[in-house]
């Protein structure tokens, strides 16, 4: 049986892992390679490196880090953050990434999704979206897509954007709920369920996994195919194995060996 993936996410800033709190970097959480190796040993199903600064001078540091990490891992590695062009994607794939996640640049230029899918394959083209509930003038609430690390609101809405992304060739959708990010208040389950119902590619839940029940809910009520979490692992609240054993006991298919 296909198991549900548990994916530790390492937010990287100047070569160090940091803990994101509502999208601004604050606390240092360790050495990326050390953490990657530890998570691998704990049966992480994939890893994500997210370059949360991605200024030009820091991109080189990040690429070097991807290379050194990929040299030690035999599980899939996704990288994201500051990917703006097909050349950026190629550079990350050549450094050893298996998948590249695009976010702001895909909103600015949706053809980047097509270019990624045609140039490198849908299987390594991941569309990641930062989404926030925004109250409308008529009193309703809509899920708006945000860019630039969650700082800039767009007119786009999450569900249609996910559908368009898949039509353009994205092989996976990461839904990152800004409301919940880093505050450990849980995933936006309604948002997840809406996106999962609208697309036929895997959907990864991201943002706000603070307790084991949050992770379970993202899979059970949100119908996500995988969960991505950061803080819950970095400070050793739980090991990847703790999480997997808990979810397996509640009936979610998990790879434990």
């Amino acid at each position: 049986m296909l198991t549900t993936r548990i994916i530790p996410c390492l937010d990287v800033h100047r070569g160090r892992v940091v803990r994101g709190q509502q999208f601004s970097a604050d606390k240092d959480a360790g050495d990326p390679i050390e953490l990657a190796v530890r998570y691998n040993e704990q049966s992480a199903d994939e890893l994500v490196y997210y370059d949360i600064t991605a200024s030009a001078e820091e991109r080189g540091i990040f690429q070097d880090l991807v290379e050194r990490t990929a040299d030690q891992l035999f599980i899939p590695l996704t990288v994201g953050g500051g990917i703006r062009t097909p050349q950026d994607m190629r550079r990350m794939l050549q450094a050893g990434a298996d998948k590249v996640s695009i976010n702001t640049a895909a909103v600015d230029n949706p053809n980047l999704i097509n270019a990624g899918a045609e140039g490198f394959g849908s299987q390594c083209t991941v569309l990641s979206m930062d989404v926030k509930r925004v109250p409308q003038a008529d009193g309703t609430i809509k899920w708006h897509v945000f860019t630039h690390g969650g700082r800039r609101q767009t007119d786009g809405e999450a569900v249609p954007w996910a559908v368009e992304g898949v039509a353009r060739g994205a092989g996976e959708i990461v839904v990152n709920s800004i409301d919940a990010d880093g505050t450990l208040a849980g995933y936006d389950l309604e948002l997840l369920a809406a996106v999962c119902a609208a697309v036929d590619v895997p959907v990864v839940a991201s943002g706000g996994g603070g307790t084991l029940d949050h992770l379970f809910d993202a899979l059970d009520k949100g119908h996500a195919h995988a969960v991505l979490a950061a803080s819950i692992f970095h400070y050793e609240h739980f090991t990847v194995r703790d999480v997997k054993e808990y979810l397996a006991a509640k009936g979610i298919p998990m790879r434990l060996s």
Partner: protein, 215 residues
């Protein structure tokens, strides 16, 4: 020497690193001469069937892959290195493949989440030296939207369930080919590389004697 065929479809770094854990006697190559003189061949691959076939043709590898398989050299196909062995693929509106084994590469049926992405189990359907040290129903990492449907069901050496039951390993004489990516499958995947190197170099696998430890 083991030749890892590079037909320009992407990064073979993780494949070569996996091989390098067990032997230094390998080459990642686009040169048909290397493949000809190699004792064993690995054909990795990600992406689309059409790109794979065109890539092989562009590098003058198409006939060579057929000759390699006919010659009896150990052949390890991975993902597209498995799919191209069949007659044709439904991908890209129909792509003729190498037709070494009659059969079709089919898209997963509608209603399933595609790609089939993540860790799934392989039920071993026949004993094979490549499975030495690999428990039945071990997990491997998959990422694909098409699966092989060979006419000859006895080619299936491993089966996996995802909406349909499909062959995740085909094996026949000197050929062992997997739909999953052993180089992305942690310790279990590395066992396959260890076993292939042992097979290619003709020494009894240390895995079989129980002396093997993962790096």
């Amino acid at each position: 020497m083991i030749a890892i065929i590079d037909y320009g479809a992407g990064n073979l770094r993780s494949v070569s690193r996996a091989v390098a854990l067990y032997t230094q006697d390998y080459v990642v190559t686009q040169d048909p001469a290397d493949v000809e003189r190699a004792a064993a061949v690995i054909l990795p691959g990600v992406g689309a069937a059409g790109d794979t076939i065109r890539g092989l043709e562009r590098h003058g590898m198409t006939e060579l892959v057929k000759e390699t398989i006919a010659s009896g050299k150990p052949y390890f196909g991975i993902c597209m290195g498995l799919q191209v062995l069949l007659t044709e693929s439904e991908e890209d509106g129909g792509t003729p493949c190498l037709d070494i084994y009659p059969g079709t590469v089919r898209r997963f049926p509608k209603g399933l989440t595609v790609p089939h992405m993540g860790w799934n189990q392989v039920r071993q359907a026949q004993a094979h030296p490549m499975f030495a040290g690999v428990p039945d129903e071990a997990y491997f990492y998959f990422v694909h939207s098409y699966y092989t449907d060979p006419d000859d069901a006895t080619l299936t050496a491993g089966a996996t369930d995802y909406g349909v039951t499909f062959p995740s390993v085909l094996a026949h004489e000197n050929v062992f080919a997997t739909q999953f990516h052993p180089e992305k499958s942690a310790a279990m995947g590395l066992r396959l590389y260890a076993n292939f190197v042992a097979w290619a170099t003709g020494v009894k696998s240390r895995v079989q004697s129980g002396a093997h430890t993962e790096p």
